[in-house]
């Protein structure tokens, strides 16, 4: 053995070192890191989702108002496609050969090995034709799914629409939604998405390297069955909803009706409305664009997004808060010379009633009376403490829901304007008092509210001191689960004893010869209400009525606003009376004054479109500008109260009470 024998150890040592290097790397990728394991899973595993049926929605009488309809999509997996008879395909789908080629190209561009849409929602006829010749088109398959159907074709804004998820939705959902899923985008479809959507099913399938399915994973152990969405029971009464939409035809405005004892919303009309079936399926884009292009903006959900000054309909709240505050007592009278002097400004009244008490003041909507009431409240602690008393008053009014969202189960609710003292500090410094904000006494100027808030105020008065959170869905799923927050009474901070006198005034407004809404008396039913005429700087005043019925044990509270309808008594009050009568008696008796549903339905109050270009397409910028101008004007108006109040008082003129049939809408004076 020579000394070269030792070189054996170097060679053997090298073998061992290299083996250890190999084992080290293997130890790392096999035991320490688990990246490879998940990569292997994602290589072979494909999740195929099964879409559950969306939950149906019933109205309060268990009539189906939202349901599903089966549709068929034609899917294609481009790399499985073999040359096929394009003419036969085109004929079956009733499209041109060119379209077939284009669609195939589009599908290829999306993915060559995943199934993508070739044609969405093919007709039943096409589906039937295709089924027979499907074997001739390898790579193609039909996929059935369901889309929404709204049998009554009404309440478009209320139901909202369902649409394919956007990348944004997918990101926000933290992994729940996948491209191609559908999601409720607005209305009830949006707010109850979590219940309506159900649970997606999953089938785990193994695929080989050539993307050919190789059977189920772990014998389907991890597969999930699709679970249908929850059935919802809506509080809506589709009968009066339909009546409401009919009455509001050719008008801009809103109706909200609430069952006072429960807070359940009975009618939720936004006018102009649209057929929700328009926003279903493949014509979505086209129809949506035409909705957007409508100058009367049907896409606005006016019951919760329309913000109007409550006008005189604010007066009952004003009265109740003043009574609770001790600023006046039920017997307080004021002298009405036909106007009220707020500093140098004259707030006009439409009548000269002389000494007037609260009950009559409400019935006749006396501006002078309520300006005095407001003056008493704010100056109760002396002229120096007006800011503090205003703040206190603001708190009390806010309890009724003004200036805040009521939390209805609909998206995009607005809260309306109701300024706190700080706001006036900013504008006037310390030098402001009741005369500065006097317009609020009569619900004008710097206070706005949504129709929902107004109806809710009525529900609170009907309940003599509390309201339940207004809501549209009263039962979720098979067990009819009710949200806890919907059974909580929200007190408005006015004692029950102060209500009778105000309610009597509201009764007189409808049921007495001197009432502002006497033309809206309902046979055999005592409806209490209050008219309002909202000054509108852009045109004719808005007609407002809020009320409830019957007077004792009220079943329905209602708010109606008809834009450009003029006086509260002329359109809003009669429309309310039809709604109330229909709900309480399921019929409408002939009226002695000859008012009919048909006549109101046929009346066209749509404002004339000034600008021709706007008629076609008002841009967002325009509408923003408009809004801005509007709000600027409003502030300005309240500074110079006179013109606003002047117009306001016109609303309460007794001479309004003429039959409006065959009469052109009253023009503004």
């Amino acid at each position: 053995m020579d000394q070269l024998f030792n070189r054996k150890y170097i060679v053997q040592g090298l073998f061992i070192v290299v083996a250890l290097i190999l084992l080290g790397k293997l130890f790392y990728i096999q035991i320490i890191s688990d990246k490879a394991f998940s990569s292997a899973e994602s290589n072979v595993l494909r999740k195929i989702y099964k879409y559950p049926a969306r939950g149906a929605i019933l109205d309060r009488n268990m009539k189906v108002i939202v349901q599903n309809e089966p549709v068929y999509d034609l899917m294609v997996t481009p790399n499985e496609v073999k040359p096929f008879d394009t003419l036969a395909m085109a004929n079956a789908l009733e499209i041109t050969i060119d379209d077939v080629r284009k669609k195939l190209k589009k599908a290829k561009a999306q993915s060559s090995y995943q199934a993508t849409f070739f044609e969405r929602q093919i007709s039943v006829q096409s589906y039937a034709r295709l089924q027979e010749i499907m074997y001739r088109f390898p790579g193609f398959r039909t996929q059935d799914r369901t889309i929404r159907h709204y049998p009554d074709s009404i309440a478009g804004q209320l139901f909202g629409y369902v649409k394919e998820v956007s990348p944004d939705d997918i990101e926000k959902s933290e992994g729940y939604y996948k491209p191609g899923d559908f999601i409720g985008k607005s209305g009830l479809e949006r707010s109850y998405e979590d219940f309506l959507r159900g649970e997606k099913g999953v089938i785990n399938t193994l695929y080989d390297a050539k993307n050919i399915a190789q059977g189920s994973y772990a014998n389907g152990k991890y597969d999930i069955n699709a679970v249908s969405g929850d059935r919802l029971i809506s509080s809506l009464d589709i009968r009066i909803q339909r009546l409401g939409e009919e009455l509001m035809k050719n008008k801009v405005g809103a109706i909200v009706a609430i069952e006072p004892s429960t807070g359940e919303i009975l009618a939720f009309v936004s006018s102009p409305g649209y057929d929700p079936n328009q926003l279903v399926g493949k014509d979505w884009g086209k129809n949506y664009m035409s909705l957007i292009a409508n100058p009367y903006r049907p896409q606005i959900v006016r019951p919760i997004a329309g913000q109007y000054s409550p006008g005189s309909s604010f007066k009952p709240v004003d009265a109740l808060v003043a009574l609770q505050d001790g600023a006046i007592d039920p017997n307080t009278t004021f002298f009405c010379p036909g106007y009220y002097m707020a500093g140098n400004h004259k707030v006009k009244c439409e009548h000269i009633d002389g000494t007037i008490n609260m009950q009559r003041g409400i019935a006749r909507s006396c501006n002078t009376y309520f300006c005095h009431v407001f003056q008493n409240i704010i100056t109760k602690n002396g002229m120096k403490n007006q800011r503090q008393t205003y703040t206190h008053w603001h708190e009390q009014i806010a309890k009724w829901g003004f200036g805040q969202k009521l939390g209805i189960d609909m998206p995009f609710e607005k809260k309306g304007i109701f300024y706190q003292a700080d706001h006036y500090d900013k504008i006037y410094g310390k030098r402001w008092g009741y005369t500065t904000v006097i317009s609020q006494a009569i619900g004008q100027g710097e206070i706005t509210s949504t129709p929902l808030q107004m109806a809710n105020v009525m529900a609170a008065i009907a309940n003599r001191g509390y309201y339940l959170k207004p809501h549209l869905i009263k039962g979720i799923g098979d067990k009819n689960v009710v949200k806890k927050e919907y059974v909580v009474k929200n007190y408005v901070g006015v004692d029950e004893k102060y209500f009778p006198i105000v309610i009597n005034g509201m009764r007189d407004a409808v049921n007495s010869p001197w009432g502002t809404a006497k033309e809206s008396q309902i046979p055999n039913i005592v409806m209490c209400g209050k008219t309002g005429t909202v000054q509108n700087p852009h045109g004719k005043n808005h007609s407002v009525f809020i009320g409830f019925a019957p007077m004792d044990n009220p079943k329905i509270a209602i708010a109606v606003i008809v834009e450009n309808g003029g006086f509260g008594g002329s359109y809003a009050a009669p429309i309310s009376s039809f709604m109330v009568e229909k709900y309480l008696t399921d019929s409408i008796k002939p009226r002695s004054n000859g008012y009919t549903v048909k006549a109101f339905s046929e009346t066209n109050l749509l404002p004339a479109l000034i600008d021709k270009t706007k008629k076609v397409k008002p841009t967002k910028l325009d509408s923003l500008k408009l809004k801005k101008a509007d709000s600027l004007k409003r502030v300005k108006d309240s500074l110079k109260i006179k013109p606003a109040i002047l117009k306001q008082t016109v609303a309460t003129k007794p001479k309004v009470n003429q039959p409006i049939i065959n009469r052109k809408p009253v023009t503004n004076k």
Binding site: Q12, Q30, N43, D208
Partner: protein, 421 residues
């Protein structure tokens, strides 16, 4: 004497090595079986399928090996030049009549079989090298013996490069180790190692930094040996050559290597990520092996294997099947078997009385070592993709037979170790 030898014949064969051989072939067959997709439906054993053929190759290989044991060991010494000449001839022939498979002109079709001469060139070269060393007993201190040994190795290497089958050619570098054992200076190994290190470093580190490092090391070395003029001169020379090498590599890399080879090297060095193209094999192979985790997914349960995610699964990437279905435990067993085999072969080589047997034994062990290291290293991404088979395990008749012949010639020589060759 000869009679006596015959009666002790079976005791003289190293049966432990034969058992390891059989174990590795069995592992090979099992995993080739597992890596053929869509076999689940097959109820009968199918000899036309890959695994059926592999069984035939294994059985005929064993018969071939055992029959080699019946030869007179001296024949290999005597016929070494002829065998070498024949394999060289085949390597030339294949360039003209060969069938092109996967870009390499490496196969000679014979009937329904295909012969891969480069596989047989290995033992031809090993035999001639052993013959040369045993006959002339050079200590490789002179240039002449180094050149002759070098030519013996380089002739088949260059012919294989022409196919071009770089992977198979690389294996011939394994002959450096037997030469080292017989006296070739260790500097050759160090220089070779240094060339690889510099080659890799040249891609990862800017050239000027490498030059800085090299001159610093050289400078320190000179400072330490400042009284020895010879060392100073040789250090300066080595440093200059090393720096020149850096530039040559860069140029040669662009001009000599094919694009697919360049991209394989860049992928391995992490200079480039490519999940679909050239990197697909390596990534899928690593996913397969990694997903096996500690104990593997179980026989026939590997999804990467079953559903064909790793290309060349039954041949060059067979180790990914082992890794996926048998996990770290299975990998360790296989590597353990190889190391046991390699160490045993070296030990067997060292107990030879004849230089011929020892050199041949070293050659066999080092060829196996190169195959195992390069193949497994490639499947787990520490070596660029070089398409050479895993001995006894990869699917394929030519490789299995040539490895069997390599091994059993040595076993025959070993069983004759007491005699004179």
């Amino acid at each position: 004497m000869i009679q006596q030898q015959g009666s002790r014949f079976f005791f003289n064969v190293d049966w432990i090595t034969v058992l390891i051989y059989i174990a590795l072939c069995t592992i090979g067959f099992i995993n080739v079986y597992a890596s053929i997709p869509h076999h689940e439906g097959a109820t009968t054993f199918d000899f036309a399928s890959s695994y059926g053929k592999q069984l035939i190759y294994a059985i005929t290989g064993l018969i071939l090996g055992l029959s080699i044991l019946l030869f007179d060991g001296r024949l290999f010494n005597v016929f070494a030049p002829f065998i070498y000449g024949a394999t060289l001839f085949l390597l030339v022939v294949v360039l003209f009549v060969g069938r092109n498979v996967g870009g390499n002109q490496a196969w000679i079709p014979i009937g329904s079989f295909r012969l891969q001469p480069s596989e047989f060139a290995k033992f031809g070269t090993a035999l001639l090298l052993a013959r040369y060393v045993s006959t002339f007993n050079p200590k490789f201190r002179d240039i002449k013996s180094i050149v002759i040994a070098g030519l013996i190795v380089l002739a088949p290497l260059l012919l294989i490069m022409l196919q071009p089958d770089t992977g198979s050619a690389l294996v011939f570098l394994a002959f450096m180790f037997p030469l080292y054992r017989e006296g070739l200076s260790g500097y050759f190994l160090l220089i070779f190692l240094g060339m690889i290190v510099l080659f890799v470093a040249d891609f990862l580190v800017p050239t000027y930094i490498l030059i800085l490092i090299l001159t610093t090391i050289g400078g320190l070395f000179i400072y330490n040996n400042r009284r020895k003029q010879k060392i100073i001169i040789s250090t300066v020379l080595v440093t200059i050559i090393a720096i020149a090498y850096l530039f040559v590599v860069k140029i040669a890399y662009e001009k000599v290597l094919a694009p697919h080879q360049r991209s394989r090297i860049e992928l391995m060095l992490g200079l480039k990520a490519d999940n679909k193209g050239a990197g697909y094999n390596v990534i899928q192979s690593q996913i397969a092996i990694g997903s096996g985790q500690a104990t593997g997914r179980g026989f026939l349960q590997g999804t990467q294997t079953k559903y064909g995610y790793v290309p060349a699964q039954s041949t060059d990437f067979i180790f990914s099947t082992i890794g996926e279905e048998w996990g770290f435990v299975g990998c360790s067993v296989v590597i353990g078997l190889y190391i046991f085999l390699l160490l045993r072969l070296i030990n067997l080589a060292e107990r030879q009385r004849s230089t011929f047997s020892r050199v041949y034994g070293y050659s066999v062990a080092c060829i196996f070592f190169f195959h195992v290291f390069i193949n497994i290293g490639m499947t787990i991404g520490i070596i660029p993709v070089i398409g050479i088979p895993l001995p006894f395990i990869s699917y394929g008749g030519s490789s299995l037979w040539s490895f069997t012949i390599l091994l059993f010639i040595f076993l025959k020589l070993d069983s004759n170790r007491m005699g004179f060759i």
